[in-house]
């Protein structure tokens, strides 16, 4: 198997992959400080090695059933100079993936459709490739 490196994760029971290039690091974030009245997709702020990151409620962005309030596993990505922590259920692996177009005729729903750039397969399980920049950037654009 050959292809670009991708980080494999699960959100709301769905398998996703994000391009490793967009990933700054993978962490368990410490306590989250709320940022009241921010966009609903913002869980709050967290400090990460002397840097403040904005914690993104991935379930809310993707219109999934509300995720675990104690979820701490996150992908750190830098969008427009701001560090964001994108929360996920679990992180599995880093692997090269062959990215293909989303199968024709598959309706992903509006939220997914705006962030998915393609699909792939890993050990027989279908994956959607998510663009973190669109996922985070879409929060404000949709506002």
């Amino acid at each position: 198997m050959s292809g670009a490196l991708h980080l494999l994760a699960h959100v709301g029971g769905r398998a996703i992959a994000v391009s490793a290039e967009a990933v700054d690091s993978v962490v368990d974030i410490p306590a989250i400080v709320p940022a009241p009245r921010s966009h609903p997709a913002v869980r709050g702020l967290a400090a990460l090695r002397s840097r403040v990151v904005t914690v993104i409620d991935t379930w809310q962005v993707l219109d999934l059933p509300r995720g675990d309030d104690d979820a701490r596993r996150a992908i750190i990505t830098v969008i427009d100079g701001h560090h964001h922590a994108v929360l996920v259920d679990t992180l599995e692996d880093v692997a090269p993936l062959e990215v293909e177009p989303v199968p024709a005729g598959l309706t992903l729903g509006p939220r997914w459709a705006s962030v998915v750039t393609g699909s792939a397969e890993r050990d027989g399980e279908p994956l959607l490739v998510v663009d973190l920049a669109r996922l985070v950037g879409g929060i404000v654009a949709a506002n």
């Binding site: 400080v33 940022a35 966009h39 904005t54």
Partner: protein, 757 residues
């Protein structure tokens, strides 16, 4: 070669900046040889460099200027205004060409011959341009090395990160409790702190680089308008953030131009007004804490607010009523309204495209404020206040809804406890109104705005915004910290409540509140406040004025001010007990005195409050009067009838004396019925009878003064009773002592009016 050229450009720019003040000074005093020499040196250096760098145009200009200046130096020519203007024009042109070389632009040279002709004293076809745009290129301060701005910024960012990393390390260390590392961390802390200071200072620049262009600006502006202005500059050595200096440049230029154009009058008008012909403009910079204050003061005509209002009312007739109701201060603030020009006619200076509204916006954008002090006819002082640096902010850390937030220190005017007696909170319609020492402010509950609770909180922060002031209710105020501010992500910014994020030593991120956003989110609109202001200006007297005093027992008590006529000193030893009550020898003779403790403490000077409600002048003895306070009618109840209630002042519960009770007691004391004791030997009567009789409210007398009538007479033996209700006491036949029938005595005493209270 390129390096040499860059060096030449930078150097010329630098010298030009320093020189503009010299030229003006030289014009004012053409005999000043030192100034002339400085200018000569400049053109001479330029000429030399030009030959070397092959810049023929610059060489021609500088050569011509050098020749003329040389002839002035040798006394062949006199530096008249025409000559000075011509030299200035040449130097300006040199600056323009240097900028053009730097930018790689071509510059039209068609007018250069005119400039040179003017220099030779020949009348030019077109008058030499007097006002030339002052170059806006950034000027490095004198005697410094040139550093790339980018490099400085990266250094500053690096140090900011280092401060945060140090904080993180210190926190981890605290958690682990490893004492061996502490010394190392302390040293690191110290070094980082020093480094931060140093790097912050590298960003600093003397405000001189901003001020050095002003003499020229003032001279040119005044010259164009036919006015005469003397400029005084002070505090040029004050340092502030390089970025800040750049951001201050435009507002300052605008204010100076305004002062000369609108403020300072033409010479003949000044003469008529009894002022010296030469107007005074003084520009002073000073540092106050981590703020820089720049004052621009002129002695011109000031702002005619009535005309300002009239002009605005003509522009917007709908607002006429509102405008006329404004206070003087608000009227002055109208200067900052967009699209306003106080000038009726257009002058050379008008139409520059920026009004005071832009100036204020620019100043506020950098966290500063601008204030006007107007004395009509005598002048206007504009005060700009800006923070020293943009990157580090002094913030008040507060707590609401179990989370902590930061508020910029500069916008917090005051912090008061919500429960303090100086604060009153009322529900007005759907809003809350806080009255802080008679000042009415809209109250915003931070918890409510953030959606984390609707309690007012224990503390009120009085927050100043450009448009007005409001009270912000928060749960707790923790402390003040100097923190590095970083921008927040757009998704958080969308809340409209935050201005940035910070990371204090605790390692828990802090959101910096944007006070204007908080006020807007709470629906606080300052336009309404402006309209309502005339009412606020004279608030109805709240509560009652009262005198706070120290009573004889050392306790602080309060008495309504209306009950006190005046306060008089009572020298030690001037009180006397006589006839069952106290008297004081005062200015007006001997006056009855009310003493709480029953006995005047001797040895020290006291004071008495002259009570207003008594018929006869009566004093109330106290240790000293302390203060006049305002008490509200909602007093806490008291079981003591002589106390009208309890009021809380500065957190201390104090008794409020009931003046009616006090005076009533005094009146009764004056008219105490007399109990005449006849035919009883003094010792026995004093020890046995007197306490009983006095407790019943009588005054014991052995004999009646003229006009006095005894209410009760106790008589023993064979003496004749003089009147009143007579009680005969029989004598014990064995001892000869009077025998008391307690029942008869009590009955007789109870009969008397006013007794038995």
């Amino acid at each position: 070669m390129d390096d040499l050229l860059q060096e030449f450009i930078a150097e010329t720019r630098e010298t030009l900046g320093a020189l503009s003040g010299e030229i003006v000074a030289w014009e004012a005093d053409p005999a000043d040889r030192a100034r002339l020499d400085a200018i000569f040196r400049f053109v001479h250096t330029v000429k030399g460099s030009c030959g070397f760098l092959d810049l023929p145009r610059l060489a021609r200009l500088s050569h011509a200027a050098e020749d003329v200046l040389q002839s002035v130096r040798s006394g062949e020519r006199v530096p008249d205004p025409a000559l000075v203007n011509a030299v200035l024009a040449i130097i300006d042109r040199i600056g323009e060409i240097v900028e053009a070389i730097d930018a790689g632009n071509a510059l039209d040279d068609s007018t250069e011959d005119q400039l040179l002709a003017a220099l030779q004293g020949k009348p030019a076809e077109a008058p030499p341009q007097l006002v030339t745009p002052v170059s806006n290129a950034p000027r490095a301060p004198a005697r410094s090395i040139r550093l790339s701005v980018d490099l400085l910024d990266r250094m500053m960012n690096g140090v900011s990160e280092m401060v945060l990393a140090r904080n993180e390390l210190a926190r981890r260390l605290r958690d682990s409790g490893d004492a061996t590392l502490e010394t190392a961390i302390d040293r690191l802390s110290l070094t980082v702190a020093e480094l931060r200071d140093t790097v912050t200072r590298t960003r600093m620049q003397a405000i001189e680089s901003l001020f050095s262009a002003l003499p020229r600006l003032v001279r040119d502006t005044a010259g164009t308008l036919g006015k005469r202005v003397s400029l005084a500059i002070d505090g040029a050595e004050v340092e502030l953030d390089r970025e800040m200096i750049e951001l201050l440049r435009d507002p300052l230029v605008h204010i100076v131009r305004n002062a000369i154009d609108h403020g300072i009058e033409a010479p003949e008008e000044r003469r008529r007004a009894g002022k010296p012909e030469v107007g005074r403009l003084s520009i002073v910079a000073r540092q106050s804490g981590n703020r820089i204050i720049v004052e621009i003061a002129d002695d011109g005509r000031g702002i005619d607010t009535a005309r300002l209002v009239g002009k605005l009312a003509r522009q917007e007739p709908d607002r006429a009523a509102e405008l006329n109701a404004l206070s003087e201060r608000r009227r002055l603030d109208l200067v900052f309204e967009p699209g306003l020009s106080t000038r009726d006619e257009v002058t050379a200076m008008s139409g520059r495209g920026v009004g005071m509204d832009v100036v204020r916006t620019n100043v506020e954008q950098i966290g500063g404020s601008i204030r006007l002090d107007n004395v009509p006819g005598r002048g206007l002082t504009t005060t700009i206040e800006v923070p020293l640096t943009l990157a580090i902010l002094s913030a008040v850390v507060i707590e609401t809804g179990r989370a902590r937030y930061a508020v910029p220190r500069q916008s917090v005017e005051e912090i008061v406890a919500a429960g303090s007696s100086a604060v009153r909170i009322d529900a007005v319609g759907d809003a809350l109104l806080a009255t802080v020492r008679g000042r009415r402010l809209p109250l915003v509950r931070l918890g409510d705005v953030l959606g984390v609770g609707d309690a007012i909180g224990t503390m009120l922060m009085i927050v100043n915004l450009p448009g007005g002031t409001f009270a912000l209710g928060v749960d707790h105020v923790d402390d003040t910290q100097e923190l590095v501010v970083k921008p927040v992500a757009p998704a958080v910014m969308a809340a409209g409540l935050y201005a940035g994020q910070m990371l204090p030593d605790t390692g828990v991120p802090l959101l910096l509140l944007d006070c204007a956003g908080v006020a807007a989110a709470a629906g606080v609109s300052f336009e309404r406040v402006v309209e309502a202001e005339p009412e606020i200006e004279e608030p109805a007297p709240e509560g009652t004025s009262a005198l706070l005093f120290e009573a004889l027992d050392g306790q602080r008590r309060v008495i309504p001010l209306a009950a006190v006529e005046r306060i008089e000193p009572v020298p030690a030893g001037s009180t006397r007990a006589a006839g069952g009550r106290w008297w004081v020898s005062a200015r007006d003779g001997v006056l009855p005195l009310i003493i709480d403790a029953g006995k005047a403490p001797g040895g020290s000077d006291l004071a008495m409050l002259m009570l207003a409600s008594t018929e006869a002048a009566t004093g109330y003895l106290v240790r000293r009067a302390l203060d006049i306070v305002t008490i509200h009618d909602d007093l806490l109840p008291s079981s003591n009838p002589a106390i009208a209630g309890i009021v809380v002042i500065e957190g201390e519960p104090l008794e409020v004396i009931d003046p009616v009770r006090l005076a009533g007691g005094a009146a009764r004391a004056v008219k105490r019925p007399i109990c005449l004791v006849q035919g009883l030997d003094g010792g026995w009567a004093d020890s046995m009878l007197r306490p009983m009789i006095e407790a019943a409210g009588y005054r014991v007398a052995q004999a009646l003064a003229p006009g006095e009538v005894a209410a009760v007479t106790l008589a023993a033996g064979d003496e004749r009773a003089t009147g009143g209700n007579v009680v005969w006491l029989s004598r014990d036949t064995a001892t000869g002592r009077p025998q008391i029938d307690p029942q008869a005595l009590a009955q007789a005493l109870a009969l008397a009016p006013g007794a038995g209270r």
